[in-house]
Amino acid sequence: MISIEEYKIVESLEEAYKLNQSRSNQIIGGMCWVKMQNKSVHTAIDMSNLGLDTIEEFDDCFKIGAMTTLRALETNERIMEFFGNGISESLCHIVGVQFRNCATVGASVFMRFPFSDVVTALLALDAQVQLHQKGIVSLEDFAKMPFDRDILTHIILKKQNIKMKYLSLRNSYTDFPVLAVAVSQTENGVQACVGARPQRAELVKDQGNILANGITKETAKEFAEFAANALSFGTNPRGSAEYRKHLCKVLVCRGLLALNGDDENEN
């Protein structure tokens, strides 16, 4: 269990940032994961008073505050209208409603957990993150960055003509995914994001223009094959590398066909 010397509900981002520069301090998101760490924290930094728990809609984007709970994102109607039920689908398996009422989107994204459903989904939506110091960075870049002491304040979803489908395979319904897949059709083409490999989620783009002439059963299969070969997979108790690669082919293919409106193949 984590032990905490002081608990500070900060008044400003600047205060949070300053406190966060000390290695012995730590930002607390939903506390669901953090409390399981076996470590001593001097000051726990709580940003729940900074108004970061809302999803704001602008002309060109949605800004999801870092302290927005998973549940708030899951049930946000405007997000659903805009991006379909993919985000919801990526969240609804996570433990339970009470957990998702605690866990925050910001912490989930910042931690870049390899098993993360939500990072997989957001990557496929070309999300950006807003960092207190570094400003706006694409989630794709952020996902590859090492951990530092900057603060993630928002996740930005640009309004674009985008469709996304989310599929995962779990050994039981509320378990971590054995593999998580989000495929999307954006203004820049089709891409697949594959998470829980069990490494961090990664995007595969259609560089070979396999789908240039549209998604068919054949091209979907070909692209899925391409994606499975482009990515690396690992083994953990939930599944072997080999099985994950197999799943990648199945789920990416199904996702693509689902994008095409061929919904009967959705998982």
Partner: protein
């Protein structure tokens, strides 16, 4: 650290250590209905309402509850008896250890959904583990309770 909250309708002020989670504070304040079944936020036994939202009190920093309104089953005795009666009529409480957290989440669900479908019920409550009942009796109780509440309206 000084904590002020409204617990089950009454103002409460107390000292607590900085790393206390809400669950331990509630048990210290004689809300024994709040149970801990795991350390990894997976079982749902510790469910309470903070500002009417169901949360896991095992994971909720006590400091964050400052100034908020916290409700446990101790504060919802009439509702517990009413819904619990339907559970008892199914024999679906069994060992009862998960019942308080489960009932808290059922009451939260009823606040959120007018007429939940079976699938909505199962999804909303999927984070409430129960090892005794196999869940079917709980579902029967919920459906009978909803029908009863619907008829009342």
């Amino acid at each position: 650290m000084r904590i002020k909250m409204n617990l089950n309708g009454k103002p409460l002020e107390s000292d607590a250590s900085a790393d206390m989670v809400l669950l331990d504070f509630l048990r210290e304040h004689e809300c024994y209905s709040v149970k801990r079944g795991c350390e990894t936020s997976n079982c749902g036994l510790c469910t309470v309402l903070v500002d009417d939202k169901p949360i896991l009190s095992c994971s909720y920093p006590l400091a964050r509850a400052n100034g908020k309104s916290v409700t446990t089953l101790e504060g919802l005795q009439d509702e517990a008896k009413e819904f619990g009666g339907f559970m008892a009529d199914e024999g679906a409480e069994q060992c009862g250890f998960c019942s308080p957290g489960f009932i808290m989440n059922v009451l939260a669900m009823v606040n959120e959904f007018e007429n939940p479908t079976d699938s909505e019920i199962l999804n909303f409550l999927s984070g409430n583990m129960c090892r005794c009942t196999g869940y079917e009796g709980q579902l029967r109780a919920i459906k009978k309770y909803l029908a009863f509440k619907g008829a009342e309206k």
